[in-house]
Structures are given as structure tokens and as C-alpha cells.
Amino acid sequence: MASLFQRRRNKATQTERIRERRHEGFLRHADFRWAKISGGLCLLVIISYALVDVTPRHNGGSWYGYTLGTIGAGLILWLTALGYRKRKMTSTAWSLKAWTSAHVYLGLSLIVIGTWHTGFQLGWNVHTLAWALMMLVILSGLYGVIAYATLPKALSNNRDEMTQMQMLEAIRAFDRQLHAAAQPLTPEDTAPVLAALEEDPFAGSIGARLSGRYPKCATAAALRTLSASRSSDAEAREKVVGLLSQKEAALTRLRRHLRIRGLLEIWLYVHVPLTFALIAALSAHIISVFFYW
């Protein structure tokens, strides 16, 4: 009856949810909508800069400079808000992809808006510091976009349907088998194997993680030693050598996985702190402009 109908009618709107049928990356989003908007904005700035006559010359303090400055500062605050928006789930129709798309292209437009705002008057002062920080944030963002565009494929190929947990499990399984297989070895052969067993797959400096090079890898060392050794029973040693090379392969996969994930994330550790530095410098810039000008 009435209640039955109400349920249906209310829901009818939901069947028309926005649905995406294709995979379309954030760069292409809505047919490069934000690239077009941001490109248009930059053009507008460049052209109007040439047309508007400010005396004695363009600078941040003219009415035109103020306009660009306000737009720029507003944009920076909005770009920063991505960090909040990314983590805040709401129930209304919005998509982080659209935000990221807008973030990237409007962020790039700041190169023009910010630089043209200065009227190309750079020097050793807090104003230029703000500009430089902004350019660094943008540069790091550019790196991020390149990473996002190129690395996922490598991550997918390397993991070959395995999850990170499974990679770790595989290494642990080889460790267990190594532990059993190493029992008949002579003490001098056992020592490097034990060292390999004690190695934490996640250990290693940031440098090692990002480069993927682990010169002090105990598994590799054990493999070298045992391959060259002649001391234990040949059959037992061969078994251990086999297991060690399997473990090395598993370790290589995990390390490659961690490396690519690291490369996909590390830039955010530059991008975000620099953003805060930028906001600090920007505040100093604005305050100094108003109070000491």
C-alpha cells in the first residue's frame, strides 16, 4: 500500500546514479575538462597582463597584482584542502578523481598565476620565498603525476596476483624449509644460513628501499658462500642452495614491490610538508605586505 509505494518512489532516483562504464584516468577525466579550464585561465592571465596598463610597471601591489594574488592564495588553500577531502567520506555525489584532476591542472596554472602576480620581480625576500616554495610544491606534484602515470603498471606486473601478505608468507615458508634443510650442514655453512633466516624482509634504509639495491643482503651472501663452499654433504648443501635461490627470488619480488610503492608515495613526503612551508611563507608574505608596505 502507501508504504510500499513510498519505498519505490524514493529509490527511483537512485537508479539514475552516476555510473562510469569505462576506466578513465584522472588526467583524461571528463575529456580533459580541467586541463581546458586551467589552460584557458592561464591564457587569460597572459593576455590580460599584456593588455592591462599598470604604471609604473606590473607588480604584486597593483590592483591587477592584487587580483592575481588573491586568486593564487585562494587556489593554494583549495589545493591544500585535497588532503582533507581525500579522507573525508561523504554520502553525496562527488568523486576524488574529479578533485585530483582539477587539483593537478589548476595546480599547474599556479605557475602562470603566481609568476605573473609577481610581475617578474624576484629578489632575496620572504615574497620570493613563497613563490619558490610554491614552485617546489608544483615540481614535486609534477613528479607525482609522472609516477602515477607510469608506475602502476610495473607494480601490477611485479606482483603477479600476489598480495603483499602472500609475498611475505612465501618468504616465511622458505625460511621454515631452510631451517629444516640446514640441520645437516657443517657449522661454517650453517652460520650464513642462520644470518639469512634472521634477516627482516622489511629492513633496509630508505635509500635501499627506493633504489632496490641491498648490497648487504644476508640471503644473497649465504647463497654466495654456500655455492662456493665444499664443506658439508653435497646433497644437503645443494638443497639449501636451491631453497636460498628461491628465497632470493621471493625477496627480490617483495623488494621490488616495496620499491615501487615507495616511489609512488615518497614524493608526498615532499609535496605535503612543502605545502605547509608554503602556507607559512604565504602568510608571512601577506602580513608583511599589509603591515610594512
Partner: protein, 812 residues
Amino acid sequence: MSEPVKVAIIGSGPAGLSAASRAAQLGLSHVLLEKTDHLSDTIYKYQKGKHVMATPNRLDLRSDCRFDEGARETILGIWDEDAASNKISVAYHAEVVEVTGEKGAFQIKTAKGDIIVAEHIVLAIGTQGNPNRMRCPGNDLPHIIYTVDDPEDFKDKHITVVGSGDAGIENALGVAEEALENTVTILNRSKDFARAKPKNVSDMMEAGENGSMSIRTETQPKLVEPGWLTLETPTGDEKIECDVIVARLGSVAPRAFVESMGIEFTGPDREAFPKLSPTFETTVPGIYVIGALAGYPLIKHCMNQGYDVVEFLNGNQALTPADEKDLAAIFAGLPQQKSVSEWLEFLRTRIRIFADVSPLQMREFMLDSKIAFYRTGDVVFEKDEPGSSLFAIADGQALVEVAPGVTVPIEEGSIFGEVGLISGRKRGARIRAGADSIFVEVSRTAALKLMGSVPGAKRVINRISLERQLLQIFKGGLTVEDLAPVVDDAEVIRVPAGKVVLQEGDAGDDVYVIRSGSMVVEKDIGGKPIFLRYLPAGSYFGEMAVLSGAPRNATVKAAVGSEVIKLTGAGFKAMLAARPQVREATEKAVAERAQMNSFIESRKASYSSAVDLYSDTATFIMKEGLGEATDALLIDENLCVGCDNCEKACADSHEGLSRLDREAGKTFAHLHVPTSCRHCEHPHCMADCPPNVIHRGPDGEVFMEEGCIGCGNCMRNCPYGVIRMEAAPPEKPSLLRWLLTGFGPGPGEPSPKWTKANMPEGKKPKKIAVKCDMCKGISGGPACVRACPTGAAIRVSPEEFLSIARLEEDAG
């Protein structure tokens, strides 16, 4: 032989226990026969500490034993007390193996050879049945067990699991847990593990590969001795150390035992139950069936029936069933005023599919159904709305809008909405009330139960649904009469996944309609089968050959287990000859399909790699079981940066628990199918939910409403491993607070450690089933998709994903 009793109650579950208590309270001579050495074996065997739920909440408990939700141990303890205080006479170790005689003097024989004589029998043996025993010598040794209560009970043991269905594999994985240090072997009689879920098989294989379990295929036990087990292997006998044998060989359903007493069932299907009168009496006078065996799996129902049945057989005729007020509420909104039993009789005599339904079954169906009054012109449902319930016309008339402005009436007593019921697809047309009408809406589960237990209802529904399906396919211009010759020789054929229905190049002119499931069409191009099209339920194929007379020009095979209806070419031709406009429409459809085929063929010549990729992707998608999906999450790994924001968003919009596992699952050509619900056409998870809380919502989502009792049946039944049994974590501090002060676990599912530390004092976490609900009720749509920063995640149906338009775009 002992003194005859007035009533013997067989089985001491909640139903039997409650019946015995009532008998004791009424002072009837009675005995409660229980096969094990404790009461209520089914509940005794629940996992340790399981929280037992007391649904449905609105139903009052009417029993001499107490019952409220709580831990398994508490409930069993209370029942032991109640059994004692009610002074029930219980005989343990009394497994009934045979019942002979008749009302007044039944002879009940137990496994030990005792004979009990009783005037009446109440059968309350549940549906668990008996586990199949091992058959080799030594099978009576005590170290053979049939369930694993708690894997932690086994430490540092040699354990052999016999049987590799899901139960066996799950037990083996449990005891193979590394910390327990057991040496675990699992035996499988055949080469592969066809009976188990792929997820379980892959977990087991992994355990085999990393050495925590040894998997022996084509191997059977040959001789059991204390500490040792001899195996028969393909390479000869082998003796292995073995301290414990876990035998998981399935169980024999109690049906054969029940039938051996002469009790009739409602039909041959698995869903059938014993035929019962309103007082629970079977077709054998004097034998009553209650509880899960009677089709009522919830504990509260079982206990109420125990009380009622003894009252009935003691001559109480005035007792109204405990569900009377719920039924009254269902009928309350109707314009006419009738009593519950008058209403039930009204429906039974008016509606064709209810004709053979017993009054007791009628009560139950109505509890799972809605009944409503519609004014002339009111819309019942819209075209393309998802929905799988069945409507029956108790009064008035329904109008189907087959085309704008064209309506076809459906008369009183008939049904509508059956397409959604059978195929799980969206509604095919808008339906309005043609007069002031009363319609009954039967939920899919109740309708399936009806079809399983009442053969007459099944016949009527199947015939009507085929007629309607054909009318819908060959829109307009056809009448039910035209269809009669086609429908009369139509044949329903079950096709297992992967089986070929039509082979390219073969002769033949039969036409097929897909009743449920889906098909893929392939064509051999340059020596390679190329995917042409995906056919969902409701489509038809084979019509090209009828019109052209040429051999089949493509191969059609089942994407998932399906049902097709075969119509003979001759009948189909006769129908086309009688109705020229139908022939025209069919020819047009054939021409369109032919054009698409030649498009793909032409592309194949110029853009062979794009066509190959499209075809291989389609094959992969079908292999992953997405042929039965209505909406699945797909991740493009060319775009996915591994930030897991999708999982975090899902958790943050659903009680803190993520319903998807991004990383797990298969990948092909960078297209990744993560572990997340696909909202199957015929959800396997719905099959066996005691409180019946899994439903399909208005957007096609399969979701659980409140009332899950945490039995885990759905988790076991879902072949895709997407259901978790989890307790909701406590509320997290707000996002801003976390951003500013770092207080709390941050976005996403909190770690188990945090959950444990922050669980409010005295709150016992209840583990219930959690799965994707497609973000039901969230107006913006799926949170996982919206939260993906790069656009890697989308939710689509297979038709959308494999549409030809995509190929056109990809091929440029």
C-alpha cells in the same frame, strides 16, 4: 520393553526440549530420546562462545524453557537447569533407528536395541543429519572425530583430514595454523577439488606449497590403527603417523529416515518438507514433526512449536499460534475486515499458485510476504526496476504496459513479476492496477520454497513465466494462444558452466531462450575463438538458422550454470508464419546481430590485437564467474597506485569494516577483479540464511538487513569468498581531530589492536556477516569508486563492460 508412554519426543534440540517440558508440565507420561550424551547437539556443536541470537524479535516466546540471546554456553546451561526443574525424563545415548506400529502403539527402536512404546511421536531431529562414517577397518577407533570445535585443542599432533569439501579444507587449514605446530595431511579421493570453493582450494594449495600441510590426491584411508594410518595411494600402500583423524565426508540428510516411517514429503526437491497439518501432524496419524525438520530453523520458532504441538496432541483446540498477531498485522491495512484464517482461506481459494498449499504452509508464506490494496492506476513497479519478488492477484486485475500506451491485462488468480524471480533480472515492464485490487507480494525466498515444496505451484509458475518471457521477447502482436504450440513442446534444459549449446557449423533449427544464467557467443576467426557477444538471461539465440536455413554461424556456450528453454524450429516457424509482424521484428533483430558480427570480423582483419585483447578479456571475465554478476568492482591496474583509499572509504562509510579486499583476486592484462561482492543474479549467499535477512534491494544490490544471527552459512555458500564474519569496531574519533592531533586510528578500518583496546567495557562484540551492499542508501553511489583518486576503480555489469561500443572505441 518399558511402560508405554503417551508421547515420545525424538531429538532434544530447542524444539524437542520445549515439547518435553510442556509434556512434563501437563503431567503427560513422556520420554525425550537423544542420540548423544547431552541436550541439543546442534547448538552444542556451535563454535565456542558463539553469540546465539533470538530472532525474530517481534515473536513472543511461548515455552516452559527460557531463551534469550546470549553465549552458547549460557544458553545450554539454562536449558540444563530448565530440563531438571521441569522434571523431564530424558534418555541419552538413545539414537532412534526405526519406528513401526501406528497411533496408540508405536514401537520405537534405538541403536542399542531398546524398544520404547508410545501413543504419539513428536519428531524433532533437526536437519543436521548424521555425518558419513569412514568405511575402512578401524573406523570405530576413538581418535576419529567428525567435527573440530576449536583448532587450538590440537597442538603438536599428526592430524589427517579425510575429505576435501569445504568443511574438510577449513578444518585442515585451522589445525595447520603455524603456531599449533601440527603435522597436517589432507586426503582427497580424486585428482581435483571440484566440490570445494575456489577460495578454499587456493588457500589450501598455498598451505601445501609453503609446507604447512601435505595434500595427497587420489589417496584413501585403508586401515586405521592407534597412532598410524595406512593409505592407499596411486603408487601403492603407505603408512603414516597419525594421532587424530578428522573425517569430513558430508552427512546423510534425515529425509530417508523420516520417509522410512511412511511420512510423505511435499515434493522431491531438496527444499521439500514433510507434509503437515495445522497441528504439525504428518501423513502418518500420531506422528508430529516440528522444528528445523518442519522448515522452521529459528530457535524461537522451534521452541514455540514444541509447546504448541504438545498442547494440540493433548486436545487443546483453542490455542492460537504464536504468530497470529504478526499475521493479523500483515492483513491489518486492507480495506475489508476478516479474521486471519478467513484471509488465508480467501487467498488459498482465489490464487492459483496457492491452491495446493496446506494451511500451515500458507501461514508461513504470508509471514514472508506483503499484501496490499492498490487503487486503479496505481503503479506496482516500474520497468527496469530490479526486483525478484513474485506478485499474485487476489482481487482485481493488473495491467502490463508492453509498449507505451499498449497494455495487456492479467486476470485475478494469476501472477506477475515472475521474470525477476526466475532470472534475477530487472523488471521487464511497468505494471499498474487495472481495477481496485489486492496483490500479494511473495519474497523470492518464500517463492522458491513454495515452488520446491508444492509441485503444482511450480508447474503453474514455470508455464506462465515461459509464456510471458516469449511475449516479451517478440513484443506485441502475439497472444498466449499463438504461443501454445511452442510452449507445449518447450523443454527446459540445465546447462553447466562452459558447456556448448550450439556449435558453429552444425545443422539444426531449434531456438533457445535463456531462462537463467548467461551465455557467450564465439566465432572461429583465423583458427581462434573470438568473443562476439554476451547474452544475459531473457535473450534468445539460434533464430538465425531458422530464418536462413544455413548451419549455425557461431558457437554459443554457457558462461555460468544456466537454464535454457528449447523451442523446436518447427513450432517457432509456425508461430512466425501466423504473425507476419513478429517475423519482421525477428528479421530485423537478426540483421542487427549479423551486422555486429561482420563488424568484429572486419576489425579482426585490420585491428587484430584490439579484437584479441577484447576477446581474451571477455574470456577472463567469464572465467572469473562474472557472467553471473550484475555489478562488479573492476580495477584497472594501469591506474591503481595502491593507496587503498577504496578500502578506507568503504570502511568509513560502513561501520568501520571494509567490504572489499583490493589486492586479492585475479588479474588479466592489468584488469583486476578484487575480492568484493558481485551482486550475483542468483545469489548463492541467500540459499540458506535461517532468519532470511539477505535480500535484493531496489538498485539490484544484495544486502543483509538487521537480524543476522552469525551462523556463517552465507559466508560458506558464497563461491567468491566476499563475506566476512566480523564485529563492528567502536566509533573512531573524528577525522579533523585525527588530522590535527593524530588521535585515533585514522581513516579506514582500525587495526584489531586498536579495536580491542577501545571496545567499551562490558560490550560483547557480535560477529555477524558483513558484505558489500553497493552503498545502499548512500545517495552519491559506491564509496569505493568515488574515493579512487586516479579513476582505477569502477563498478559495472558484464554487459556494460563487454559492450561492443567499448571495442569500437578501443579499436578507434
